[in-house]
């Protein structure tokens, strides 16, 4: 503590340099926070993914699976409950405003209860065939409140009368969940099924289910695929755990990319702080010699330099991660709708890594100046001959 005035005067010797260094470090750690925070979100999604939840899709084509498949899957031993899912992809008013409504049967809360759709909420939606539940973010995006009408156009999903306009009634607004920054809209499967041309009725896009035993769910998924391998609709079945396990982002290794960006930022900062501290020590070489002369140990002098280097790093890291946390909350409003990247999370791990990186940068920047100071010849330094 008693070194504090010394460090403060060292840091404030050239305020412009200190402030610019701090700003640069802050920017680098903002980027660091966003990037590593994104990794944390992916990790959290993977951790929250349930081993006993299984997604089944038609191996080929979208809305091409007879609903009978869902009933047959429900009868397979080891399956607890199945929900049939279909979807309407389209737009609101202008093709630029893409929207997707998932149409699900009565079992939705049993399979996806942990996604914020409670039984009570779903009961409300099921009272009216045209009812939907929107997440808060979707409700904000389309400026809807409970009781409003929501109309979308779908070129892919035509109604029996040939029209492509689908009208829903907003009956509930549900909570968002972090893994899906796009939010959701759920409607009743019955509605689209009965409204479609006869030839399209009874088709679903996806069957999602819970297994009785999470430990054997991978094997159950394989059994489901096998059972339908030679049917008219071969399936691809995968557990949620496996589906979310990879750092998969359309085949890009998102973790490698985010770490690379964060590392490049740190490298940039390392040169800046390293140069700053070296310059500061060089300018005050005689002062350090004086400190040593009046009895400061080598260790104390080393501490002084390390702390001087650490101050902007630690402060910048704290500010940067703080800004990143602030920006993460703003991303849905800043990015175009439907961007589809989950929000970065400033988890304790992110903060820990930020702190470790800040200390590493500080130590590395201070290393060379410290080496010079320990090898210093006090007499010649005092006389300014170095």
């Amino acid at each position: 503590m008693r070194y504090l005035p010394l460090i403060w005067s060292a840091v404030m010797r050239k305020p412009a340099r200190t402030i610019l260094t701090l700003l640069s470090v802050t920017v680098a750690f903002t980027l660091f926070g966003l990037m590593i925070g994104l990794n944390a979100t992916f990790d959290e999604i993977a951790a929250r993914a349930r081993a006993d939840r299984i997604f089944t899709n038609a191996r080929f084509g979208g809305n091409g699976m007879p609903i009978a498949v869902a009933h047959q899957i429900a009868a397979i031993p080891g399956v607890k409950v199945v929900t049939a899912v279909s979807g309407i992809a389209g737009y609101v008013q202008d093709p630029k405003n893409q929207v997707f409504v998932a149409m699900v049967d009565s079992n939705l809360p049993k399979v996806f209860g942990d996604w914020g759709i409670s039984q009570d909420l779903w009961d409300v939606v099921q009272k009216d065939r045209t009812g939907i539940v929107m997440s808060e973010s979707q409700a904000t995006r389309w400026h809807k409140k409970i009781g409003d009408t929501f109309t979308m156009v779908s070129k892919q999903m035509k109604r029996a009368d040939g029209s492509s306009a689908w009208t829903f009634k907003v009956l509930a607004i549900g909570p968002d969940f972090q893994q899906n920054s796009n939010g959701y809209i759920f409607g009743n499967y019955d509605y689209i099924d009965k409204a479609r041309p006869l030839a399209d009725q009874g088709k679903i896009g996806e069957a999602d289910l819970l297994a009785n035993d999470p430990a054997t769910s991978t094997e159950l998924a394989a059994r489901i695929d096998h059972a339908f391998a030679n049917s008219a609709t071969p399936l691809v079945t995968i557990t949620e755990k496996l589906a979310r396990a990879g750092n998969d982002f359309g085949g890009l290794d998102i973790k490698k990319i985010t770490r690379g960006i964060a590392l490049a930022g740190m490298f940039m900062v390392l040169f800046l702080t390293g140069n700053g501290i070296a310059e500061s020590v060089r300018e005050r070489f005689a002062e350090f010699a004086t400190l040593k002369t009046i009895g400061f140990s080598s260790r104390a002098v080393t501490m002084l330099v390390v702390l001087e280097a650490a101050l902007p790093c630690i402060l910048g890291a704290a500010l940067g991660v703080g800004i990143a946390a602030f920006l993460a909350g703003k991303i849905p409003a800043l990015m175009p709708p439907g961007f589809g990247i989950p929000l970065p999370t400033m988890s304790p791990m992110v903060m820990l890594w930020a702190a470790i990186s800040a200390f590493t940068v500080a130590l590395l920047s201070a290393a060379l100046p410290i080496l010079r100071l320990t090898q210093m010849d006090i007499a010649s330094a005092l006389s300014g001959r170095t």
Partner: protein, 385 residues
């Protein structure tokens, strides 16, 4: 004036060696910024190039009215012949129109690392090769119409497992053997090709996805388009193939490119503070030098310009180093995003962008220190030493 700028700048550059590490802050800062930005943009640029290359101004694509992407379109069997007989389509040697009834389905495959991916299986009808002459067999042979067999693109072969001649791909009605490998030089290389009619049977789906026609000449698009739009039996959009892929390419790479620019901007701001720091301390360290020059009669303007020039030189050097690293690491590398197989690209245009980025940072990062250098009273600066 120019001569003064030249002399002062040359003096600066000669003293750079003594300020090596300090100058490296700018070089490394911009190298990291431009390196990261161009590495990220290599994905969106490469992908966009693959899309652009797939289009041909001599072709027109016919899709369901209002759809944005090929898989959303569907052309019925009754509509297909109406489209094929429309005027404006080039004729083959046998006098038949060069119109390809295309069918697309997505096929789950295993990526080389074992993770689950998918690609597009595309049906090609009898005039398919006439419409798309860029399809060249690289190994094996072409698939035969009516047979349940397919050919795989060189890109697909490199990105997915089990893509050798003789391997089998699971399709709705069983396994189809791969009988050949093809090259196109565009986005089609990441896909699989088979016979349209056989695929229609296999998918139990009696519709085509799109129609692709070769135009008699690039100018006959209007004739063709008019004939289809006035036909009440059709509700389709006709788009020049190159325009179609330009739009799809821009649309599908927009988010990725935006991400690259956002990260590039944030890093540039970080580098800017580093640049300001370095240039301020360079100006203050050389206070005596600058004051001497001013005393000798050199103007304030040449001094200011020389500071900005120095920042420019260092920044652009950094940008070029960053671009070189990004280019060496990624340019030309085969990659996969979604179901699009493409080559990463660090093009001259991207490098130019990196240099402009660096010049902008140097401009701002050099401007304020240069003003300070120019404004400092000569006497005071000389006395300070």
């Amino acid at each position: 004036m120019l001569r003064q700028i030249w002399i002062v700048s040359a003096l600066n550059f000669r003293s750079l060696k003594s300020r090596f590490w300090q100058s490296m802050v700018i070089v490394v800062g911009l190298a990291a910024t431009v390196g990261v930005m161009l590495s990220m943009l290599s994905v969106s640029t490469g992908m966009r190039q693959a899309y652009y290359a797939s289009g041909d101004p001599n072709r027109a694509i016919v899709v369901t009215k209002g759809v944005e992407q090929e898989p959303q379109s569907s052309i019925t069997r009754a509509q297909a012949p109406l489209i094929a007989v429309a005027p404006g389509i080039a004729k083959d040697k046998d006098g038949k129109p060069l119109a390809d009834r295309a069918l697309m389905t997505s096929v789950p495959l295993l990526r080389k690392d074992g993770s689950k991916g998918f690609t597009t299986m595309r049906g090609l009808s009898e005039k398919g090769l006439g419409v798309r002459p860029e399809i060249k067999i690289a190994a094996g042979r072409m698939f035969q119409a009516g047979r349940r067999e397919l050919i795989a693109g060189v890109g697909a072969q490199m990105m997915f497992r089990h893509m050798q001649i003789g391997d089998k791909v699971i399709l709705p009605d069983g396994e189809w053997p791969i009988v050949g490998i093809y090259k196109t030089g565009d986005q089609l290389e990441g896909q699989l090709l088979g016979d349209t009619e056989t695929l229609v049977t296999a998918l139990h789906k009696p519709v085509y996805t799109t129609m692709l026609v070769r135009l008699a000449s690039p100018a006959s698009l209007d004739t063709f388009k008019k004939a289809l739009t006035v036909n009440p039996a059709l509700s389709v959009d006709v788009v020049r193939h190159s325009d179609w892929y330009k739009r799809v390419g821009d649309q599908n790479t927009f988010a990725l490119a935006l991400l690259g620019y956002v990260v590039g901007t944030v890093m540039a701001i970080g580098a800017l503070f580093g640049c300001l720091n370095t240039m301020y301390s360079a100006v203050s360290n050389r206070g005596r030098e600058i004051a001497t020059l001013r005393a000798l009669g050199y103007g304030a303007f040449p001094v200011a310009v020389s500071v900005i020039l120095e920042a420019m030189l260092l920044s652009i050097t950094g940008a070029l180093i960053g671009a070189a690293i990004a280019w060496a690491l990624y340019d030309g590398k085969l990659d996969l995003f979604g179901n699009v197989v493409f080559h990463l690209s660090v093009s001259p245009a991207q490098i130019e962008l990196g240099v402009i980025w660096a010049a902008a940072v140097a401009m701002v990062g050099g401007l304020f220190p240069s003003i300070r250098a120019a404004k400092r009273p000569v006497v005071e600066a000389l006395r300070a030493v």
